[in-house]
Amino acid sequence: MSSNSLYVYGFVRASEAPELGEAGLAHEGKPARVYAVRSGKVAAMVSAYDANRRVLPLRRNLEPHHRVVAELARVTTVVPMAFGHVAQGESELKSLLAPNVGAISAELDRLEGKVEMGVRVQWDVQNIFKYFVDGDAGLAATRDRLFAAGATAMHADRLELGRMFEERLQAARTSLAEQVLGSLEGEVAGVRSNPPTTEEMVADLAFLVERGRQQRFEERVAEVAALWPPEYLFHCTGPWAPFNFVELQLGSAPAAGDREWAS
């Protein structure tokens, strides 16, 4: 049995665990072999990793992690790990797997035959603030009052203007996201909505779609986009492993002496 630490990519059915070859994060100077550690009906997909190394979120690590998970999702059902998980060795890995085989297997059953499709809708305008002010008489009037030549905008007035903008932004997002969801959620197995990370983002959605319906879903997104005005941009990505849809809660492995925690 190997005494290396093991970088963990995700969980698959033991009977469907593929051999991916030297596709993993670098170990001893080259991409490590990605293989399965089995426990009953499930397996963890792993590769050897230096016990003393932290995992840095750099492209050289992010890319192999992503590619391994993507390949797993292409050929089977995978419950993906978040980036940066390293088990201390096979016995430690198995000691966590063994009591959780039922839960992992149930999660694989739940996600069987489905992939994740991402849909992001954005305002594709030069200046999101100008776009909203131009479209809202209240915002425009407040701006003109505060920033007319010779005016001094008080701190409280600035806060109020900023708050007004955010209120308009959120209201627009709520209404538009509802429309997008209404158009797309019909034939899917699940939907998740993530908080927007920029002002320009209208909605950041993930859809759980049956593999055989992926193309139809993409066509549907194109149909919807064709009906929206030109200031919007629809970005459809996928297929992904079901990152946004995993719900698995695992019981921890029993404590095994001193453990090094990420600082």
Binding site: H235, T237, S252
Partner: protein, 74 residues
């Protein structure tokens, strides 16, 4: 009609990072992710939080639209 971009899952580091850093199974005992010494441009301001700073920044951005709106005087 709105613009449409359709890309496979291999495009765009941002889309990848938003998934593999923020989503998926987390097992605390195994997390060896390190952010020490890394300029986390990808992680800065990943979530916009309402705050005084945000509102002031919005007001500043809106003030800049004012000069564009004021007609030139002879």
């Amino acid at each position: 009609m709105a613009k449409l971009v359709q890309s496979s899952n291999s495009s765009g580091l941002v889309e990848v990072v938003d998934r593999i850093l923020d989503k998926g199974i987390v097992i605390d005992a195994w997390v060896k992710l390190s952010l020490v010494g890394i300029e986390v441009l990808l992680l800065e301001a990943r979530v916009v939080v309402s705050s005084v700073e945000t509102y002031l920044a919005y007001a500043e951005a809106i003030s800049l639209t004012a000069s564009a709106a004021v007609p030139a005087t002879a």
